[in-house]
Amino acid sequence: MEPKKVGVVGCGTMGAGIAICMLQSGMDTVVCETSAENLENGLNRISAFFEGSVKRGKMTPQQKQERLNLIQETTDLQDLVDCDVIVEAIFEDVRIKNNLFRELNTICNHNTIFVSNTSTLSITSIASGCGRQDRVIGIHFCNPAPLMKLVEISHGLETSDDTYNKAVEFSEYLKKKVVTTKDTPGFILNLLLVPFENDCIRALEQGIATVEDIDLVLKHGLGYPMGTFELLDNVGLDIHYAVSMSLYNELKDKRFAPPPLVKKMIDAGHLGKKTGKGFYEYNKTGMFGAV
């Protein structure tokens, strides 16, 4: 399948990143947000990324404009009617995502495939009762989506083989490397990453080593590109807390539960780069696209 027209619902960090992937592959891309303000913020994210590419000499101003011209911006779900694939990157909540797919089902062409970019929720639950459960699938992009090569594809209990095959083709069309997982909490990456991060936080709580020394061990001892505390500051402690709780609620295994320090830091407003202080301190807040 060569998708001609695709859509993204939700244009936050992940949604914008996914839209950028689509635009770079030359697809007509409908970008849908809930309000004019959110839409403008989302489009600014996309534009800032391409502007960065121009500044680094990876793209001409004309190429940037060609990509931006592929965008159809909207706050109306009706505009997604004739998309081949729609990827949702809205708030991580099963009910909200399920309601979106129910509504889209009444709008979109029969063949449109609904993709969820959820990182921890069940694809089967998100698809449940939406009216086209066989055409719903999970494609989990990694952050930052334009730069990370991997996607995790997971099929719900009712996802058809045809939908799976199309999702693989779509991902390859976006030049992503596909790994296939089951519809289990956290898929592969978050299943393994989140308890590891929590173990690092516990080692810190227990006074086994400092933030800096734990990050040093991971980078020099294990060759990881970034220390856990650098990574958590980038992701945001509030997001880490939500992801950990979501996995814990499904799996009831204490390795996934966020250690008490995370809650304390959130209460103190130490969310990471975005607030200027997390495990480390930052002079200016991190900006998407500056990577």
Binding site: C142, V179, I188, L191, D199, D213, H220, G221, L222, G223
Partner: protein, 255 residues
């Protein structure tokens, strides 16, 4: 502090590597074989400012050598001992001045040989600990400070992650190739967990995980039964040409 001389006591590969590192940093190091320590040979240690013990990881051997050293060097001289899974407090307790004993955990695998964990036991005092930490910087190592807890820092974090990855594979979450690819491309780690287990050696990995589990009794440290069965079957990884993956005999087996 200008360092006049370092004494290295022990045997084997690590002793040789360390001697070279000191020489390369312009710090004179004398090397004393620990196999049959004689008072005459050991007496050269008197003029050193630090002693580093590199005897193989066996409790009785380490204590024996440490007691010999104690009889020769001044009571305040810092003694660093290399250690990977034993209790530092237990070894330090075998001599009269345990406060000057500092643990060093080196990594001999080629791509991580800069790292050294500098381990502080309950008895250790500030001065020798900081001196050994600074000494490691002087020879170009990346020292990290950690406590005398099972697995120290790196294995305490690494073993549960590896167990979890192997268990997920045993539970058929995905294929071995997709699992390794996800970790390499999704997290940017240099090697996926199953490939890495093959490089480490399943038998060595099993030993490390069991050692941690037997101290901590938390199931996250317990090796998955698949590892036990693979070792039973002789599938130890690259060194036996079969682990999670198969390797041809022509392929170079790296340490």
């Amino acid at each position: 502090m200008q360092i006049q001389q370092i004494g290295i006591v022990g045997s084997g590969h690590l002793g040789t590597i360390l001697s070279q590192k000191f020489q390369g940093s312009g710090i004179p190091a004398i090397y004393v074989e620990a196999n049959e320590p004689s008072p005459a040979k050991m007496s050269v240690l008197q003029d050193c400012q630090f002693i580093i013990e590199v005897v193989p990881e066996q409790l009785s051997e380490k204590i024996k050598v440490l007691k010999h050293i104690e009889e020769i060097v001044p009571s305040e001289m810092p003694i660093a001992i290399t250690i990977s899974s034993l209790s530092l407090a237990e070894i330090a307790s075998s001599i009269r001045n345990p406060e000057r004993v500092v643990g060093l955990h080196f990594f001999t695998q080629a791509n991580r040989d800069k790292l050294v964990e500098v381990i502080r036991s309950l008895q250790c005092s500030d001065t020798p600990y900081l001196q050994v930490y600074e000494l490691m910087k002087k020879i170009g190592q990346v020292p990290v400070r950690t406590k005398d807890v099972p697995g120290f820092l790196i294995n305490r974090l690494f073993v549960p992650y590896m167990n979890h990855a192997i268990q997920s594979y045993e539970d058929e979450l995905t294929t071995k190739e997709d699992l390794d690819t996800a970790i390499e491309l999704g997290l940017g780690y240099p090697m996926g967990p199953l490939k890495l287990a093959d490089v480490i050696g399943l038998d060595d990995y099993l030993f490390t995980a069991n050692t941690l589990f037997q101290e901590l009794y938390d199931t996250k440290y317990a090796p998955p039964s698949l590892v036990n069965r693979m070792v039973d079957a002789g599938y130890q990884g690259k060194k036996t040409q079969k682990g999670f993956y198969e390797y041809s005999s022509l392929e170079e087996v790296k340490e």
